[in-house]
C-alpha cells in the first residue's frame, strides 16, 4: 500500500469516527439535557417545594401503578365515616370528604362523636376533630391517664368503650360515589413531584429498563469523551489542519 493510499484510508477511518461521534453525541445530548434540567430541579427542590406537591395527572399516576381499591372498610360514627387507606385517613361527612395524614404505622382503631367533637382513636393516639374535621389536638395514648377521670370530654367508660377491641365497627363503604372520591383523593396524594424528578433523573421512571438505558448512556458519554479527545489530539498533531 502506497503512502497516499495509507493516508486516504486513515482519513476515511477518521471520517467514520467523527461521523459516529457526532451521531452518538446528538443522541446523548437528549440524555444530558435531561440530566442537567432534573439535576438543577433536584438541587433546588426545597425552594421549589417539589417534596410537598403531588402529581395530579391520572396517566402518570397509573404509570406508577397506583391502583384504585374496590372496597374500603370504614367506621361509621355519628353519621360520619372514618376510612383508612395506607397512612391517610379519610372523613366522609355527607357528600364532603376530607383527609388527614396519620403517623407512620398508626392504624385507625375506633371513632365516636360527642358534643360536636369527633374522637378518633388509632393504635398510637387519640385525635380530636371539630365538626369540619379540623384537627383540634392529638394526645398520645401513652399519656392518657384513666385515673384522672375525664379524658378530653369523654368519660372513662366512653373512652374504655372506644378503646375496646371490636372488629365489627369496620363496615364496607357502600356508596360507590364516595369510594370513587376517596380513590381520587388518595391517588393524587401518592407521588410527589420530587419523586418524579428523581426517577426521571435516574431513569427509574422507566423501571429497570430505564436504569439500564441510563447506565448505557453513561458509558456512551464516557466513550464520547474519550473519542472526542482522541479526535482532537489527532487534528492538532496534523500540521496541515489548524484547530486552535
Amino acid at each position: 500500500m502506497s503512502p497516499y493510499q495509507k493516508k486516504q484510508l486513515q482519513k476515511k477511518r477518521n471520517n467514520i469516527v467523527r461521523k459516529w461521534h457526532r451521531r452518538v453525541g446528538m443522541t446523548a445530548m437528549i440524555f444530558l439535557i435531561n440530566l442537567a434540567v432534573t439535576g438543577i430541579l433536584l438541587n433546588h427542590y426545597e425552594a421549589l417545594s417539589l417534596h410537598k406537591k403531588y402529581i395530579q395527572s391520572d396517566w402518570l399516576i397509573s404509570w406508577y401503578g397506583v391502583q384504585s381499591v374496590d372496597e374500603i372498610n370504614c367506621i361509621n360514627a355519628s353519621h360520619n365515616y372514618f376510612c383508612q387507606l395506607d397512612d391517610k385517613i379519610y372523613f366522609k361527612n355527607g357528600d364532603s370528604i376530607s383527609s388527614f395524614t396519620s403517623e407512620e404505622s398508626d392504624q385507625l382503631f375506633n371513632a365516636t362523636g360527642k358534643d360536636e367533637i369527633n374522637y378518633m382513636l388509632t393504635t398510637n393516639s387519640l385525635y380530636l376533630f371539630n365538626a369540619k374535621f379540623q384537627l383540634i389536638d392529638q394526645i398520645s395514648r401513652q399519656s392518657i391517664d384513666l385515673s384522672q377521670g375525664d379524658i378530653e370530654g369523654l368519660t372513662t367508660e366512653e373512652f374504655n368503650l372506644l378503646a375496646e377491641p371490636n372488629e365489627d365497627q369496620f363496615k364496607l363503604l357502600s356508596d360507590p360515589q364516595a369510594i370513587d372520591s376517596i380513590n381520587q383523593l388518595h391517588k393524587r396524594s401518592q407521588i410527589t413531584h420530587l419523586k418524579f424528578v428523581q426517577d426521571l433523573h435516574s431513569g427509574q421512571l422507566f423501571f429497570s429498563g430505564g436504569t439500564l438505558v441510563s447506565d448505557l448512556m453513561a458509558i456512551i458519554i464516557i466513550l464520547l469523551g474519550i473519542s472526542g479527545i482522541v479526535s482532537w489530539q489527532k487534528r492538532i498533531n496534523r500540521p496541515d489542519e489548524c484547530c486552535k
Partner: protein, 177 residues
C-alpha cells in the same frame, strides 16, 4: 466515572427513601421535670397545664413565623409564674419533629428535640446545638436575637427548630400579656 457517580446517586436516593423509626430523645415528663425541678414528680396540676386556642389573629401571627398555619386548633402548655413550657411540632423535610421549649422571662431557657421522625438531620439533637438557643429572645419581625449556626446535612431540621423557637417565644408573650 459517570456510572460510579450514578450508582452513588441511586444509593443516596434509596437511603433517603428508607423509612426510619421515630427516635425519642426526651419524653414530655422528662422535659417537665427539667423545666420544673422544684415540682418533683410530674403531675399536670402541679405544673398548671393550660390550653391556648388558636384563633384567626393568633394563626395569622403563627403563619408569619412558620409560613403556614399551625395544624392544630389548640396548643397545650404548662405555666408557672414567669415560665412556660411548650411542646410543638414542625415538619422538617416530610415528617413532623417534636420540640420542647422552656421559656422564662421572654428568653429560651431550654431547647430540646423530643421526637425525631426524619431519616436525616438528627444532628440537631445535640447538646452543642441546643446551647445556641439559650437566652435567645424574640426581636422585631419575629427574628431571634442570636445567630443560630446551621448544621451541614440538617438544614431543614435546623430551620424547623429555629421556627419553633420563634413560635414558642411569641406564644409565651401572648399568654403572659
Amino acid at each position: 466515572m459517570m456510572k460510579a457517580i450514578y450508582t452513588i446517586f441511586i444509593l443516596l436516593a434509596t437511603l433517603a427513601s428508607t423509612s426510619v423509626d421515630a427516635k425519642t430523645f426526651l419524653t414530655e415528663k422528662e422535659l417537665l421535670s427539667q423545666a420544673f425541678p422544684e415540682a418533683g414528680k410530674t403531675s399536670d396540676s402541679k405544673h398548671n397545664k393550660q390550653t391556648l386556642w388558636l384563633d384567626d389573629a393568633l394563626q395569622s401571627k403563627i403563619e408569619n413565623i412558620l409560613s403556614h398555619p399551625y395544624p392544630k386548633l389548640r396548643i397545650k402548655y404548662w405555666k408557672n409564674e414567669k415560665k412556660t413550657v411548650w411542646i410543638l411540632e414542625e415538619i422538617g423535610k416530610v415528617k413532623p419533629i417534636t420540640f420542647g421549649f422552656v421559656i422564662t422571662d421572654n428568653q429560651v431557657e431550654l431547647a430540646r428535640v423530643l421526637t425525631f421522625r426524619e431519616s436525616r438531620g438528627y444532628e440537631i439533637a445535640n447538646q452543642s446545638f441546643y446551647q445556641q438557643f439559650n437566652q435567645t429572645k424574640l426581636i422585631q419581625d419575629y427574628q431571634l436575637s442570636k445567630q443560630i449556626d446551621g448544621i451541614s446535612g440538617a438544614t431543614m431540621s435546623v430551620s424547623a427548630m429555629k421556627k419553633i423557637a420563634k413560635l414558642a417565644l411569641m406564644l409565651h408573650q401572648e399568654v403572659m400579656k
